[in-house]
Subunit: 358 residues, 2 copies
Amino acid sequence: MTGDGTAGPGRPEAGGGYAGVRAAVVGTGLIGGSVLLRLRDAGLDVTGWDPDPATREHARRQWVTAPETVEEAVAGRDVVFLCGPLPTLPATLPLVAAASPPGCVLTDVGSTKAEVAAAAARHGLLDRFVPGHPMAGAESAGLTAAAPTLLDGAAWVLCPAAGPATGAFRWLTGLLLEVFRARVVPMAAAAHDTAAALASHVPHLLAGALAGAVRRATLRDAVLALAAGSFRDGTRVAGTPAVRTANMLLGNRERVLRELAGVTAYLDELADALRSGDAERLTALHAEAGAARELLSGRAYATRVRDFPASGDHADEVAWLRELGAAGGHLGGCHVRADRVAYTAHVPDPPGPRQAAD
Amino acid sequence: MTGDGTAGPGRPEAGGGYAGVRAAVVGTGLIGGSVLLRLRDAGLDVTGWDPDPATREHARRQWVTAPETVEEAVAGRDVVFLCGPLPTLPATLPLVAAASPPGCVLTDVGSTKAEVAAAAARHGLLDRFVPGHPMAGAESAGLTAAAPTLLDGAAWVLCPAAGPATGAFRWLTGLLLEVFRARVVPMAAAAHDTAAALASHVPHLLAGALAGAVRRATLRDAVLALAAGSFRDGTRVAGTPAVRTANMLLGNRERVLRELAGVTAYLDELADALRSGDAERLTALHAEAGAARELLSGRAYATRVRDFPASGDHADEVAWLRELGAAGGHLGGCHVRADRVAYTAHVPDPPGPRQAAD
């Protein structure tokens, strides 16, 4: 167990394996359905709920318990994954909190974290709500598109908080590492939202702008006929359901607009170099961009082990965790033994500009 | 044969198969090397030349004749593929024309067509130079990355011209259909360059801007740690060698800047809707973009057969061919029989906005 008394009476011990843990998934679409199927395959006792009766019926055909009400689905659970659409979370959160046991860990999979974290604070749920975001997705939607392997090995952001919430964070980290083989990225909610703006939200805007402009182009059909790798890749997420994309962008509006300004500034530099025929500058700007792209595939990691007191206010632990995620690192292990918690961390090696001159 | 007297004395007949045709590839990098290996595998008599002695040596180890000089490589050939870097083409073209037989068909694989077509006109080579552009590529470079299957089934633009050039166009079309199973897209050089600006060149700018902005971001390492599908896809071509990207953009400068303006206008609309919190407008703009993306994967084609007199000024034939490509269609067959040339064309069905209200 996490050793700090935040777990509910029924929550099994961390490190002792998560088989038999009682989990619920609320909202069994693409992501929620994939979470559900994975938990089921790992031997957890799972229930699923979705507002759509046909989806609940489909879940039952997958040998998953799918009660008629969300209250039944989360009653007596050790952990609940909130996987409904982003705008529904602030309302679902207190409802699920009220219907689940007081020690039940709550988490979500929404693409922005600051707003839902604020909602959790308003409802006094910071001791057991751990904001989460698995970095995976597809253009498809619905339980029929879900797969137990969709999130395997994914980067999965969890937002640790000091105080009793740290225990819930440690326990959930252990579950994600064991069941999903996740790379758990600990981040502050605000840092996540800024990073996600560049890693996901702005790319959706660029894909939409490119595909949208082509739709309006006189030579639209010729453009589509000539579309090879760069256009196909650059517009793939334009195939994402439009409502989902709009919700994601609106949920992180200020940060998306700020990071978009950085991207359009770089685009302006490229266009200026092109307009003035400055081959050297144009090449240098593309080479700089290529270096970032290379880091994506060729990154090396060093492994570090760090431990903290299992009890106390956890302030040092949380600060270290947030710094780890901001530096591009992730957790590969979390073990509570007696009065210590030990983390295994993987950090970029060589370190990025936050640790060293670049 | 094409039946209009433009073929050189040694060029084998169209329709009789292309095995035994004498072909040369000048510039055996990624694209040229792939062309060369494919032609060799199809039973053509091929020679290759590259300015780099190590590349010539590598070609010889692939059982390809690779003479020391470009003049030797193209002497006595029926067709020469010019596959060197874009800025070298205007100089290479007259040199290869002088060293090859007068009836030898010349073509290139450069990513822009208007400039090289103008160079061919200046050198009086319009009767046998057919501007070409296979729509394929990769982030890699060099003969070692080349593969005989790289261009299999690719969209391959050829620019037909009236007069004696039509014969060279027909013959080369037959070769590409037979040897590469290409979808030959006939287009005017200017229309190609406008369509390619949106299908390829602007996507390279967007990928560069996104990757470049991330490289400069404070949370760079966290962004890379979170990068899932949308960022990976959206920056893939930022890994292309920077000099090659710069050459491609500079070779089509005016059109790239014009089409980029259309994309940034759409991006501004998206940003405005986001800034004002207009969920309906933001969703509608993304849905419009998604419709273009859907056309990319779900397009149906109707087959049409059309024939023209084999001789004459070919003005109707060339006009029909250019309209076919502008409408998103491609050729699947080209046969010269007695005094007629018959094309099999595949056209989008239902047609796009050029043929019908959209």
